[in-house]
């Protein structure tokens, strides 16, 4: 008999074949006497094994608290604390590394701030110088207005006098300059403050404390549980 048929017969004997395989095998068994004999032999062997008397255990295998190697089961929450410890440690390391990198980059900024600071300061002074000009001396405003006036009069005639429109246009120009400079000036501020305040030192401390807390809990819980159980066992 081939191994496939043997396996089919054995599974059929235990009712482990699906209905279609079972029906197919039954039709083969009906027409093949060797398969029928093999099935009967397998059944007889299985029955013989099942009739083997069950022995009683020679002694009780109950556990006593005094058994030296007994270690009480770990409370189910302990693995959760262990995982939490690992996660908090991981986050602590991440924040620690990020802090290190940020303070490193901040110190390199502090070492060479001159070109950026000078560039940022220049437009401010230029704008500050230009801004008061329209209010204090209208004549002075005409001078920078010249390039605009040179373009504007060719398209629109100026009925109210050539000085007014260019003056408005011109005074707005320094304001735009100021606005466009202002963000740059603001941007320079966080460079110093980032290295001091936006670095998540609080997070670092928080994660470090969490890691320590969870670690201690995961260490204490099983021992506490073991001590309590041993006390309970010893009372009996």
């Amino acid at each position: 008999m081939n191994p496939r048929d043997l396996e089919l017969l054995s599974a059929y004997l235990d009712g482990q074949l699906n209905p279609s395989d079972s029906a197919r095998l039954e039709s083969r068994i009906a027409s093949d006497s060797s398969l029928r004999t093999a099935l009967d032999n397998l059944r007889a062997t299985r029955n013989l094994l099942r009739q083997l008397p069950s022995r009683r255990a020679p002694r009780n295998f109950t556990l006593t608290p005094q058994m030296a190697s007994i270690k009480p089961p770990t409370p189910r929450i302990v693995p959760v604390f262990r995982l939490a410890t690992v996660l908090a440690t991981f986050l602590f390391i991440i924040t620690f590394v990020i802090n290190g990198l940020i303070s490193l980059s901040a110190s390199s900024f502090a070492a060479a701030p001159a070109p950026f600071a000078a560039g940022a300061a220049a437009p401010i002074s230029a704008a500050q110088e230009a801004a008061p000009a329209p209010t204090s001396a209208p004549a002075a405003t005409q001078a920078p207005a010249l390039p605009l006036a040179a373009i504007a009069p060719t398209e629109t005639p100026m009925p109210f006098g050539g000085g007014l429109a260019p003056t408005i246009t011109e005074t707005s120009t320094p304001e735009i300059t100021l606005k466009s400079v202002a963000p740059q000036v603001e941007n320079t501020q966080p460079i110093h403050s980032q290295s001091e305040s936006s670095v998540p030192v609080d997070f670092e401390i928080f994660f470090g404390a969490l890691a320590i807390g969870f670690g201690i809990t995961a260490w204490i819980l099983p021992r506490n549980n073991e001590r309590n159980l041993r006390k309970k066992w010893n009372k009996k």
Partner: protein, 201 residues
């Protein structure tokens, strides 16, 4: 017996609850160990180790057949015992009589309801079957012991030895065939029904 409640209590460290489970399953685990190892004392040691291990790792039980889970612990204990035995072969542990001869059938294992003749026949048949079981490779022996002697279904056997269902089917079929061939050598001991089948072959 409220098995789930006992398991839950035992998982919280309640030794009494666990011992109730031990008393319920100790015969089954001892018999499994006995048929795999073929030795009473080794089987008793393996069963004891299995219960200790089961208590220590009870929280790894995540539902399903508790019987199958316990049989996994005893199967592992038997494999450990066999490995130890292979490394350090020992003499048989049959108890001696007063004359110093080995007893074939220890008194404390005899069935008090059988006549001496019937007991002797039963013992011989049991020896024959155990002899044939011992002749099987251990992985085949384990499957046939769990399925045919302990009555575990295929999924429970698969869970107990952590093998796929196909492997269980294949090993069981081959183990049964080998046992059948081996038992033919003890034809005079076998029940009439078994002998008739063999003669037809």
């Amino acid at each position: 017996m409220d098995e789930p409640a006992l398991i839950q209590s035992a998982q919280r460290g309640d030794l009494d609850a666990f011992n109730t489970l031990v008393l319920h399953y100790q015969d089954a685990l001892f018999n499994t160990a006995l048929r795999i190892l073929g030795d009473d004392d080794l089987a008793a040691d393996a069963a004891q180790d299995a219960f200790l291990s089961a208590f220590q790792h009870l929280n790894s039980y995540r539902g399903g057949s508790f019987k199958a889970w316990l049989h996994r612990t005893v199967t592992n204990a038997c494999y450990d015992e066999l490995r130890r035995k292979k490394r350090r072969p020992t003499t048989p542990l049959e108890p001696d009589t007063d004359d110093g001869d080995e007893m074939d059938s220890p008194r404390w294992l005899a069935d008090p309801h059988l006549t001496p003749e019937a007991q002797a026949e039963a013992d011989e048949l049991e020896h024959a079957i155990q002899h044939c079981l011992d002749a099987l490779p251990v992985e085949f022996r384990t499957v046939v012991v769990l399925a045919d002697l302990q009555g575990l279904d295929y999924t429970e056997v698969a869970a107990a030895i952590r093998a796929p269902l196909g492997t269980i089917k294949s090993r069981l079929a081959r183990a049964r065939l080998r046992l059948q061939e081996c038992l033919q050598g003890f034809a005079e001991l076998l029940p009439a029904a078994f002998r008739l089948q063999e003669e037809q072959q």
